[in-house]
Point group: C2
DNA sequence: ATGGCCATGTAAGATGTTACATGATTTA
DNA sequence: TAAATCATGTAACATCTTACATGGCCAT
């Protein structure tokens, strides 16, 4: 049996959590999610659901509780639950432990290519928008706390921690770039033509 | 001109930073990187480099300083530098501000599918391996600090912040699951069959 | 009944991976 | 000189996105 991918694992998890649901319901979960890592596009979900059904990890009820056309509602099978557990771990894959990819951090690696002025604009925008986003996630966090599902709460709490860490890091970035490091072997000026 | 993707932006950045380099040199940067988000596989890099060259964002020198076969060394062109700057921003794309995707956090969403015992194993493993990884990144951080490139230092510092935040979050997860929330509308027990 | 939205797909394209083929250089 | 390794590619495949096609339901 092939390895369960991230999106497959998530879909399995959604079907497990929500009970019988149609592909469209699953799509909505991803579309409504604040993190747009996956768009929940039809071209991704429908073939994936068909794949999971072929592997007997989910099964369609004859009944269609919500679907309006001939939609089938899928529920997880026992072997689907096993697959979900295997995907969850332990053991965890190596890259799940490692530092999450962060587009902001990636860009910072090459920030020396910008002039001092544009670099400042970059940091200003990042800090402002990050602060705004922080408030959104704080609200989401309070909401999910009241919701009573500890897992949902902890997930949003984790997202909040990430954002707070990034926010503090950005302040350090600004400070360090204004007042370069001391302990380097060479002066921190990275003058480059252009 | 097509939008610059993340990997394209990174490759442009690498060529900008390291000066003339062969596709293989570029691959090594990704292969040696601690974050295995991109493998730097030949099938990704060689076509990508060819694409960038077609768009005149990088150009091959006639000389090959390091390549052993008929390898060409590429350097960034003026329009390539412009493309790099456009990719870096500002403005930053929306998803670069949002919470980075985190496989650990994703899995936590569905942790209720595991039995209490396996869930404990999950958290134990995550915490142990996270702590180990933390030490690695701390070392990398000190190394890059001494290296004198403030951008490289700040990138590893950002990675460290992320890991520390995750580590603290994991402790909160354990605590919350052992001693559920109070303020929920319904009791936090999410008993499910199996 | 018709225009608009809900829902289910499919098609084409972009981008990445693994696995393979092959040539050049170093090393035993 | 034979084996190992470095380096450059290509081919086949997987997976996701965007864009499109189409069918059913509902409100005016």
């Amino acid at each position: 049996m092939p390895r369960t991918t991230e999106l497959e694992g998530c879909v399995l998890g959604v079907v497990w959590e929500k009970g019988p649901c149609t592909p469209y319901t699953i799509r909505r979960v991803f579309q409504d999610s604040p993190s747009p890592h996956w768009t929940g596009s039809a071209g991704a979900i429908y073939p994936l659901v068909a794949r999971l059904a072929t592997r007997r990890l989910i099964r369609a009820d004859a009944r269609n509780p919500t679907g309006r056309r001939g939609a089938k509602a899928y529920r997880i099978t026992p072997s689907g639950l096993e697959a979900l557990k295997r995907w969850l771990g332990p053991p965890l894959p190596e890259w799940a432990i490692g530092v999450p990819v962060d587009a902001l951090r990636t860009r910072l690696r090459f920030l020396g290519a910008l002039t001092a002025q544009v670099r400042k604009d970059f940091l200003d925008e990042a800090e402002t928008r990050l602060r705004d986003h922080l408030r959104v996630v704080e609200k989401e966090c309070r909401r999910s706390r009241a919701g009573g599902d500890p897992f949902a709460y902890l997930v949003s709490r984790g997202a909040l921690s990430m954002l707070q860490a990034r926010s503090g890091w950005l302040r350090e970035v600004r400070h360090t770039l204004e007042k370069p490091l001391r302990s380097g072997r060479r002066p921190a000026s990275r003058a480059r033509k252009r």
